[in-house]
Amino acid sequence: MSAPTTPAASAAPPLPVQPPTPTGLLRLFVGVALVGIGGGLPAHTRRALTTRGWMTDAEFAEAYTLAQLTPGPNAVNLAAMIGARLLGGGGAALAVVGILTPGLIAMLTVTVFTLGLPGGLPSGVQSGLRGAACAALGVMLTAALPVLKVTAGIRFGPTLAVITFLLLAVLRADLLLVLAGTVIVGLILHRPRSGE
């Protein structure tokens, strides 16, 4: 499929914008990755896109919702979707490469150092990593809060979430079975009303 060109008429951006180019797209997502240390990638992506005039807020919100619904890491899915929307399949590939490359280089460097040492990690480094892991737990909790909040507003949402938690964490049930069960029950509970 060819790259979809956005209609120039609707919601004119304040400045005359440069159209997205492959290099520009790659540079945008490398930049997003670099400022996104510690999270908040979607927010950085949105800012980078709207300042360039490549996407409106409404278009971004649409892509963001869709990224939540597809499996996989949200920030990377979002990059693939935006790349696809702006420059087709090649754009999707460039966006994903861009958002992954800085972290990949950093992670491989640290990994080779920490895992490649003969006789394991020095105890100071291991203690430091333990401390970092405890803080990462706090990060994980704050990332979970918005999802928990939205779930609390869904009919039967808290019940289904607790059942999912118990099945996975306590009974160690197979994830795909739990997914299939939850989605089927959820679809039945929230089936579209006829006549709408």
Partner: protein
């Protein structure tokens, strides 16, 4: 011990495809630690913590796990497997979105998937807590980090680096 790169690729591809709303730590632990024995609970927690201070997506921990399982080739296979198929799926979903947005079952699907995602996240918190908290001091660091992130706008990477320094000083 080095695992087969193809096995790594397929295993991580499956892990990526069953993650909704971010990382799916319970399944990652079940498969990589308990089933395949590629990594230890300690390495799971270490990789996750490292991911928090790397530029870009937090789940670059996958590259760390892949390296532990199969060296350089393993790191490459894990990264490609975890991110590749889901990115392809996302790009394809974007191109059919206009049609999907009118689909009457879409809100139903969202209401069905979100509670599942919340349950997975909660289970992930428990998995991570078991791997990383070994002492009262560790629990305190986790609680203080959470409170700081929740109540202030401090950068998460700064908090993780601070906790690493604290951990080294306290020798957790």
């Amino acid at each position: 011990m080095t695992a087969d790169p193809l096995d790594i690729l397929l295993t991580f591809a499956r892990l990526g495809l069953v993650s909704f709303g971010g990382a799916n730590l319970p399944e990652i632990e079940r498969v990589l630690v308990e089933q395949k024995h590629w990594i230890t609970p300690q390495l799971l927690a270490n990789g996750f913590a490292l991911g928090q201070v790397m530029p870009g997506p937090n789940m670059l921990a996958m590259t760390h796990y892949g390296f532990a399982a199969g060296g350089w080739l393993g790191a490459f296979a894990a990264t490609l497997g975890f991110y590749g198929p889901t990115a392809l799926l996302s790009a394809a979903a974007m191109t059919t979105w206009q049609r999907l947005s009118r689909w009457r079952w879409l809100p139903s699907l969202r209401s069905a998937l979100l509670p599942f995602g919340a349950g997975v996240l909660l289970a992930g918190v428990l998995v991570l807590a078991r791997g990383s908290i070994h002492s009262p001091a560790g629990a305190l660091i986790a609680a203080v980090s959470f409170a700081l992130l929740w109540r202030t706008r401090v950068n998460a990477a700064l908090i993780v680096v601070g906790a690493a320094v604290l951990g080294a000083v306290l020798s957790l």
